[in-house]
């Protein structure tokens, strides 16, 4: 009897509730209009004025650039938040992994430069074809994580300042551009039409480096500075 109530409470009841919810959700999805409603026509109409030809990049950096500004803020916030937890950082700076697994080392040596190149290419092509700062930045981050894992790059306490600058770079440049648009008398984040492409290219390049760096920092874990507070059950 006890057994039944236990399973009922921990698994069957949630299962039942989730199933009911799923049926509602299914109904809602079925009730969506069959013809697409959205902003495709608006985006297409204004695309020539946006400075780029890839509609997704236009939405991200121009039409809804404000959201992207806030999103870059989320990335920096995540770094600050993770640093504030003072966990044990990733162990780098000694060649333990590399020595143990020469295959990995070769692979990383081969892969990382290619990935960094690809990241740059993806960013640059982003104005016209699929790609852009987020995509390039995430590939760059993946490359840096590989390098970190293979201990080919490390982060040492002395490098605190550059790290802070990398983390803050994207947001700072974005804010400067946003403030600049206000100062020249435009609406907030309204790029001057004939410089839109150039501005967005600058922004994209900076964002790529910043997004890549920030994501890698998130992976690294802690600010390389303080004693960690994660003592129990940990290698220290």
């Amino acid at each position: 009897m006890l057994k039944l109530t236990a399973i009922w409470l921990t698994h069957l009841l949630p299962g039942l509730l989730v199933t009911i919810f799923g049926i509602f959700l299914l109904q809602a999805v079925i009730a969506l209009p069959a013809q697409p409603v959205g902003l495709t026509t608006e985006v297409q109409r204004e695309l020539p004025n946006s400075g780029v030809t890839n509609p997704v990049t236009a939405v991200l950096l121009n039409f809804r650039g404000y959201d992207t500004l806030l999103e870059i803020a989320v990335l920096l916030l995540a770094v600050v938040a993770v640093w504030s937890l003072h966990v044990v950082p990733l162990r780098t700076g000694h060649a333990r992994y590399v020595a143990e697994t020469p295959v990995l080392a070769h692979l990383v040596r081969l892969l990382a430069p290619v990935m960094i190149l690809v990241a740059g290419y993806i960013t640059w092509i982003g104005s016209a074809r699929p790609g852009g700062a987020f995509q390039g930045g995430s590939v760059l981050a993946a490359a840096m994580v590989l390098l970190l894992l293979a201990s080919m790059i490390g982060i040492r306490p002395r490098q605190r300042w550059p790290l802070r600058v990398v983390a803050v770079l994207g947001l700072a440049v974005f804010v400067v551009i946003a403030g600049g648009t206000l100062v020249v008398g435009n609406q907030f984040l309204e790029y001057p039409r004939n410089q839109a492409y150039a501005l967005m290219l600058v922004l994209e390049s900076v964002l790529t480096i910043s997004i890549g760096g920030t994501l890698a920092l998130l992976f690294f874990g802690a600010i390389p500075e303080t004693a960690s507070f994660e003592t129990m059950n940990d290698e220290g």
């Binding site: 999805v29 985006v43 939405v59």
Partner: protein, 137 residues
């Protein structure tokens, strides 16, 4: 079935599976996995609905929203995982199985010993007979 219908159904399924997993698993890493699966369900709904008309260009706005969402989700995941490690360090378990013990600032004399005292308290479920804080979540 159109692509939208196929993937729309899949999005409902994975969101529900994620929600179920989130509720029934006490392990924090599992909950974080479940969160990621739930958000991918939402992303799938957005992107597949952007392609309801298979002959037209898909709506780029949901694509941008999903890109934003992916970055937000990885930020949240990174923080949640770091916090999980702190939870493990503080309590020895990667779960919130017990109810929160009442928080109290230790008297000054006992302050140095605070860490271990807190550990004892949270590890003892009987001490935590607070009536309105539920298990899990």
């Amino acid at each position: 079935m159109s692509q939208f219908q196929i993937y729309g159904l899949a999005s409902v399924l994975i969101f529900s599976i994620g929600l179920y997993g989130f509720i029934v698993h006490p392990h924090l890493v599992r909950k974080i996995l479940a969160m990621n699966i739930m958000s991918s369900g939402i992303f799938l709904l957005l992107v597949s609905a952007a392609r309801r008309d298979m002959h037209a260009i898909p709506d780029p706005v949901p694509h941008a929203m999903v890109l934003t969402g992916i970055v937000v989700s990885v930020s949240m995941t990174a923080f949640a995982l770091a916090l999980t490690r702190r939870v493990v360090a503080a309590t020895g378990v990667a779960a919130l199985l017990w109810m929160d013990a009442p928080v109290e600032a230790a008297p000054i004399a006992a302050r140095n010993d605070e860490h271990s005292r807190d550990l004892d308290r949270v590890a003892d479920p009987v001490a935590a007979d607070r009536d309105d804080i539920h298990l899990s979540v």
